[in-house]
């Protein structure tokens, strides 16, 4: 296997491919870089920046990739009864997880995913001001795009790993160590033609008004213990997003994953339901 690693999406993206497939690795990184450009919260020329600059109610033409992520995000928002919400940006700025973008009036950003409309296959409308952040889904989506690009370039197998959100294709089984917050290996998994994502919030908690907060859980919900949450799914965007739901509401995540051909990875040797 050829293995390459580049700093993208705020983390390290690693691509592995069989020998002789170097060009497909390039195609994979190009796809990840494209998602990075389009969906960065920080970039001022990303699709997200254009959406937040547009006045409420104005349709904004977005890249097909961004439309695809938003479509999935809205479906997950509906199915999780609002738990998974990419309009989480304002809350993340308030709690110090994200910087306030220039020119944004935070108090006005009251919209949720329910106020986001995909008008057709190229335009989105925010009916109320909101700050979208795709940090809970874009890494997984980028992995899926990279994989598709590698396939299109002729690779018959490989692995794309974006900071722990990964997907394998082809016959090869890739061994995966799933790390807990203290860095110990909590689980091992053999990844073959499927995606795996994991999340733990031990390193991303902040105190606010005397309470501990963490992304995608918000107030009024117990914080999970130190255990890492790992999800296996057919595609990586689903796996990535469902780790957030699994952290807040494990039974709901299990139900949603069942319909999508995935599952929450439990403690070792308990995957009787693993397909």
């Amino acid at each position: 296997m050829i293995r390459r690693c580049r700093p993208l999406l705020g983390t390290f993206v690693e691509i592995a491919a069989p020998p002789g497939c170097a060009a497909t690795v390039e195609a994979g990184f190009a796809a990840v870089a494209q998602v990075h450009r389009l969906m960065s919260f920080h970039g001022e020329d990303s699709d997200l920046a254009r959406l937040r600059r547009a006045p409420a109610g104005t349709p904004v033409v977005l890249a097909p990739e961004t439309m695809a992520v938003l479509r999935l995000a809205l479906a997950l928002h509906r199915e999780s009864a609002g738990l998974f919400d990419v309009a989480i940006g304002a809350r993340l700025v308030r709690t110090g997880f994200l910087p306030l973008p220039a020119g944004v009036e935070l108090a006005a950003c009251t919209g949720t995913s329910a106020d986001l409309e995909l008008r057709d296959d190229r335009r989105a409308v925010c009916h109320r001001p909101m700050l979208l952040d795709l940090g809970g889904i874009a890494k997984g989506f980028a992995v899926d795009r990279a994989l598709a690009a590698m396939r299109a370039a002729g690779a018959d197998g490989g692995l794309v790993n974006a900071g722990g959100d990964m997907r394998a294709f082809g016959e090869h089984a890739f061994p995966v160590d799933i790390r807990g917050a203290r860095g110990h290996v909590e689980r091992r998994w053999s990844l073959r033609d499927q995606a795996l994502a994991s999340s733990d919030n031990a390193a991303s908690r902040r105190r606010r008004w005397g309470r501990t907060v963490t992304p995608h859980i918000g107030f009024g919900r117990p914080l999970k213990n130190r255990r890492v949450v790992a999800v296996v799914a057919p595609d990586c965007a689903t796996a990535d997003a469902l780790t957030k739901i699994a952290m807040a509401d494990p039974p709901l995540a299990a139900r949603m994953l069942r319909e999508r051909g995935g599952f929450v990875l439990g403690p070792a040797a308990s995957e009787a339901h693993a397909a």
Binding site: R6, T11, R179, V185, S198, D200, A230
Partner: protein, 184 residues
Amino acid sequence: MNRSVAWRLALGVTTAIFGSSSGHAVTYMTAAEARAALVPDAQSFVDRSATLSADQRTAIRRASGTSARGPKVSVWEARGSGGRLLGWVYVDQVLGKHEYITYAVAFDARGAVTGIEILDYRETYGDEIRNPRWRAQFRGKALGAELKLDRDIRNISGATLSCRHVTDGVKRLLATHATLFGRA
């Protein structure tokens, strides 16, 4: 040539991984492979490695907001057909979570970044950080061994590592480049 780079080259590094422990180390490319990959049109690379003066280091720190590990800079000039200057490739290290990450950055002839490759990456956790015997594994003794099959390489999920230090390192190299070659 920077000593640590020479060390890496001398190893003819392939890939080493220590599957039984929870430590993780991957060598993706050697410096020579990175140069060729980052400037594929280059016919030759001229070693322009330098040692920065204290004043230069201060200027770089002021311009970029970050300090280098040491005064040595590993940089190669990429030359195309007819000796035309195509750009430069820097090899540098920044601190990852606990261990250093080696990476390469290419600048074009105008000094704009054209590519970044991670050369090697390792991480240690918990007790391993304080365990000299465990750390000694990384000093290359195992690296001369034959290439391990990919099935032995463990892929890591969990505790997403930020690439912030690499991004800061690239900023520092931009300032370094301006200091050494007068453009940025």
